[in-house]
């Protein structure tokens, strides 16, 4: 089973643990609907498009409403700590979340109690808190962008907001930042670094780079990182190894972006619509 954990940007959205359905630009959980624009809903939509292509069932989602106060995230941390030990997920992908080191540690302890350890993917707030807590190596894959990689590489920064300028500066090459992140044990087993050129790496070094097709305009579009995380998580959940899934996902996300003929004002759902075509071409 494939699980996705994240937040929905609506204060009143309840804690939900359920299978989901994608209908046009909305995700449906029972009688609840969420618009797919960016964040975890965009990640889920990209994952569903990928799972459909792979002839796999839709993901099981743990979601809660949170617009930044952290109250929803706290409830979901506690729910996960209580319920994960009795669950059997093959892959778990963690996404937008309010970082809280103490509660995060309880979720890690709960994962350790699961009958079989799942493959663990983390992006966004959950990746931040994993590094903050010193538990980055516990995860199998992180999907940072260049700014987030600089945060992983800065052993002193507890949040990207505190990344020191000499590390954040663009003159730092991605391979150097990857090495620094692994040197300080602040990276997952694998990194998929999204950017003008995507890097797939492990502690042994760069495994592969993907720079084709090149569509520079994707960077300002909110949600293009979320779609990449959704695609790679779904490919891993479909049985693909992490290295192959990362390379394929990078290519699919780029091609879907290119096929959307984007401008900096494009919204991510226009790219999600192109994922099925890109999957046919790449896989």
């Amino acid at each position: 089973m494939f699980g996705i954990v994240g937040t929905v940007p609506e204060d009143e959205f309840p804690l939900i643990s359920d299978a989901v359905v994608l209908e046009d630009d909305q995700i449906i959980f029972g009688n609840k609907r969420v618009a797919v624009n960016r964040g975890t809903p965009a990640m889920i939509a990209a994952a569903i498009k990928t799972l459909e292509h792979m002839d796999r069932p839709n993901p099981f989602c743990f979601l809660v409403g949170d617009i930044g106060s952290g109250e929803g995230s706290k409830r979901l941390y506690k729910y996960l700590a209580d319920h994960l030990p009795d669950s059997s997920f093959k892959t778990l992908a963690f996404h937008y979340f309010q970082p809280d080191v103490g509660l995060f540690k309880k979720v890690v302890a709960a994962i350790n109690k699961m009958p079989t350890r799942p493959t663990l993917v983390a992006d966004a707030g959950f990746m931040y808190v994993a590094k903050m807590a010193g538990d980055a190596p516990f995860f199998d894959l992180f999907t940072p962008d260049a700014g987030e990689l600089a945060y992983l590489a800065d052993e002193k920064a507890p949040h990207p907001f505190y990344t020191r300028g000499f590390i954040l500066h663009e003159e730092n090459l991605i391979p150097d930042l990857i090495k620094r992140a692994y040197r300080h044990h602040n990276a997952a087993s694998y990194l998929l670094v999204k950017g003008v050129e995507d890097f797939i790496a492990s502690k042994k070094g760069i495994i592969e780079t993907v720079d084709n097709p090149c569509e520079e305009i994707l960077e300002p579009i909110g949600g293009t990182g979320d779609t990449l995380t959704g695609i790679v998580s779904a490919l891993i959940a479909s049985g693909m190894d992490i290295e192959s899934a990362s390379v394929k996902a990078a290519r699919v996300n780029r091609l879907a972006g290119l096929n959307a003929k984007p401008t900096p004002a494009t919204q991510v759902y226009d790219i999600i619509k192109q994922i099925p075509g890109a999957l046919i071409e790449i896989l």
Partner: protein, 180 residues
């Protein structure tokens, strides 16, 4: 290409023994306290908390210890009560001070730390917000995208987290560059 604007050298770690920190329940309170204290002329700085009180998405306000009483009194007038007031005894982390700008034809994107905002220079409309990982980022994007720079809600007013604070820095730079 990106244009980097800001300080590029690492700053030495220093401890100011005549300074203290105000610790708050959440980042929203920090942002509100910062606004009122700066408006009243106090020499304060938003900084990262020392490791012993760090829990996650944190900010603190560094202030002159001698003025603790008057500052806490001012904050109480707007119903903000720091959870702790402590002297600084270890170096504090500096918030990001490196902003990057990138042009895409008529569009301007500014990145502060992990947050990016993109504006149509001609219409001054916010066309995209990207990056970030805290839960208010998708909310902020929903509230700000497709709004004019002059009437979009600001992250400092509706955001809660360090990602929102970073987005505010990027927003301020965009406003400056677009002469709103």
């Amino acid at each position: 290409m990106f244009r980097a604007l800001g300080k590029k050298k690492a700053k030495p770690d220093t401890i100011n023994e005549d300074r203290g920190i105000l610790v708050f329940e959440n980042t929203t309170e920090v942002i509100r306290a910062e606004s009122i204290l700066k408006a009243e002329g106090w020499k304060i700085k938003v900084m990262g908390p020392p490791p012993e009180i760090r829990s996650g998405c944190d900010l603190v306000i560094e202030f002159p210890l001698i003025e603790e009483l008057s500052i806490t009194r001012k904050l109480s007038e707007i119903n903000i009560k720091p959870t702790q007031v402590v002297p600084i005894n270890s170096p504090l982390l500096e918030p990001v001070d490196l902003l990057l700008e990138k042009e895409y034809g008529k569009y301007l994107m500014v990145r502060a730390a992990n947050m990016k905002i993109t504006v149509d220079r001609a219409t001054k409309m916010i066309v995209n917000v990207s990056g970030g990982g805290c839960p208010d980022v998708p909310y902020l994007a929903g509230e700000m995208v497709n709004r004019h720079l002059s009437n979009a809600p600001q992250p400092r007013d509706i955001g809660y987290t360090l990602c929102a604070y970073a987005l505010q820095l990027a927003y301020d730079r965009v406003v400056e560059q677009c002469s709103v």
